[in-house]
């Protein structure tokens, strides 16, 4: 990790497609860059749980449960507005938009600054 931050080119806009990802190595750091609703999010590839390669996991919408006013359940549903990244080591799930586990906000991914410039995507490390 350099003492001073660096702005590093990681790819063109097309390298991170809608609802897709790009995982890159910058020196010793592996970073996942995700695009959700047109916006980019980037995190270090280290799960808050046991340090697993979270950014290389499955992307899946958050699962919710449909509850009727009387309290009865109507089963599972996907919340397509809240895509998750799931650590493949143990299944810790994080909202890609917030970088936090939905059930424990202190379990959060290490955010990396990312910007989309006219010539492509940059992260600051």
């Amino acid at each position: 990790m350099p003492a001073t931050s660096q702005r590093v080119f990681v790819g063109t806009s097309g390298d991170v497609p809608p609802n897709g990802r790009l995982v890159v190595d910058v020196g010793a750091i592996t970073i996942g860059i995700f695009r959700v609703d047109g916006k980019l999010y980037a995190y270090q590839n280290t799960c808050a749980h046991q340090g697993g390669p979270v950014c290389q996991g499955k992307m899946v919408p958050r699962v919710t449960e449909v509850i009727e006013p009387d309290g009865s359940s109507r089963g599972f549903a996907f919340d397509e507005s809240d895509p998750h990244i799931v650590c493949p080591w143990h299944g810790f799930e994080y909202s890609i938009k917030t970088g936090t586990h939905p059930g424990r906000s202190s379990a959060r991914l290490i955010r990396v600054n990312v910007e989309e410039a006219p010539d492509g995507i940059y992260v600051t490390v």
Binding site: R21, L22, P53, K58, P88, H90, D119
Partner: protein, 410 residues
């Protein structure tokens, strides 16, 4: 300028980004890539310097099922099993097994691929594929010795047909001691006993007890046998005299009276493993088996640790009021429990102060042995132990390997 598959120079020339070769981990990803982050832990915690023994890991005997069935001694059973593999579309890797529905829920429906299977490529060589996969995991986790168990075979303890249980247990034990254990001294195993049949269990100990790499025996997934019944005493005596540990490896069941009310595998898995071992421990203690077999080393595997202080407190509380129910005891149940051995995984860490108290209660420094449970979905890396702030250096070394070295005489 696309990052594509090539290295891209940055605009300032100081650092550059490279597209990572594995964008998403799947069932086909190499174990060394899946566990790459664990290798960073080896440097971070200087684990190269530790003698790490993993006392609970698994290989996948599905891939060798035909070879195991070939070792069925009874020609009729061998015929029946092979016929099943030839005629039923999905039985090639399952014939005669007891593969319950819950096991296929373990990977959280594709979220944890390595639980479903390790379908990675291996180089063509004379070495068995399973051994190559074991080596890859050991190398990635910094493990010096690994106690390896099967997977679906562990469920045989709940198979309804007992003759098949006995025959398959022998077939698997023969296959493992012929094919894997002689090929790598760093791989060990506690072999499954056909526990429902004491005579067959004795035969198992006699046939395999001195095979290279066999460091003890275990009871798996079974929770309907009272371990205090007189018919089992000869097994305990034999193991005690041989200095071989007896382990209880818990297993889940969605078919128990309790778990059958549950609709989520989370609940089944949380409760079922633990109650399996709780049942055996309760019978073991109140029937005074530690007094009857004082030199027999007993190990409790794959139930985590949080259940142990519960058992200590609960049994002590009841024992003091009902001493006449457990007349063989000369000490509190918790004191006998503190003389037993435990493997660490899945170690509950969400309340660190309670984990610290648990480790004190079980005398972790001398009684606890690290286990990974790799490649299962809730595996623990060695850093799980190395990172604990309340353990001193010697305690970490003991838990990560020195206790196992002593228990198994490695």
């Amino acid at each position: 300028m696309s990052v594509g598959d090539k290295t891209i120079e940055t605009t300032n020339g100081l650092s550059r980004a490279t597209k990572h070769p594995v964008q998403q981990i799947t069932i086909r990803t190499d174990s060394r890539e899946i566990l790459a982050n664990a290798r960073r832990d080896i440097e971070r915690y200087k684990l190269h310097d530790y003698f790490i023994v993993d006392v609970d890991s698994h290989h996948v005997e599905f891939d060798s099922w035909g070879e195991i069935l070939d070792r069925l001694e009874n020609p009729v059973l061998r015929h029946n099993a092979k016929a099943m593999t030839q005629d039923w579309p999905n039985a090639k890797q399952l014939a005669f097994s007891n593969h319950p529905v819950g096991l296929t829920f373990q990977d959280v429906f594709g979220r944890i691929p390595h639980q479903a299977q390790l379908a990675e490529d291996v180089e063509k060589s004379a070495e068995h594929r399973d051994l190559t996969l074991i080596r890859r995991a050991m190398e990635s986790l910094g493990i010096k010795m690994q106690v390896v168990f099967p997977q679906p075979m562990l469920e045989m303890g709940l198979h309804p047909e007992q003759d098949i249980v006995t025959a398959m247990t022998f077939a698997y034990n023969r296959w493992f001691t012929e094919t894997i254990l002689p090929c790598e001294k760093r791989v060990k195993s506690l072999l499954c006993l056909p526990f429902h049949d004491p005579e067959a269990s004795m035969k198992t100990i006699h046939e395999f007890g001195e095979k290279p790499g066999v460091v003890g025996f275990m009871v798996t997934s079974q929770r309907h046998a009272g371990v205090h019944r007189n018919m089992y005493m000869k097994i305990y005596r034999e193991l005690e005299e041989r200095g071989l540990p007896l382990a209880f490896h818990a297993g889940p069941s969605w078919g128990d009276t309790m778990t059958s009310t549950m609709n989520r595998f989370l609940a089944v898995h949380s409760m079922s493993f633990v109650t399996c071992n709780m049942t055996h421990m309760a019978n073991w203690i109140v029937n005074g088996l530690p007094e009857r077999f004082p030199k027999l080393k007993v190990i409790w595997i794959e139930s985590g640790l949080a259940w142990v202080p519960f058992m200590m407190q609960r049994l002590d509380h009841e024992y003091l009021m009902r001493q006449s129910d457990a007349p063989l005891l000369k000490r509190l149940p918790s004191e006998y429990i503190a003389d037993m051995y435990f493997t660490s995984q899945p170690m509950e860490v969400t309340m660190p102060h309670m984990l610290e108290a648990t480790m004190k209660a079980i005398r972790a420094e001398t009684q606890l042995m690290y286990s990974s449970d790799w490649p299962h979905w809730d595996f623990d890396v060695p850093a799980r132990i190395a990172a604990l702030p309340f353990l001193n250096e010697q305690a970490k070394r003991n838990i990560l390997g020195e206790n196992a070295r002593r228990v198994f005489r490695l």
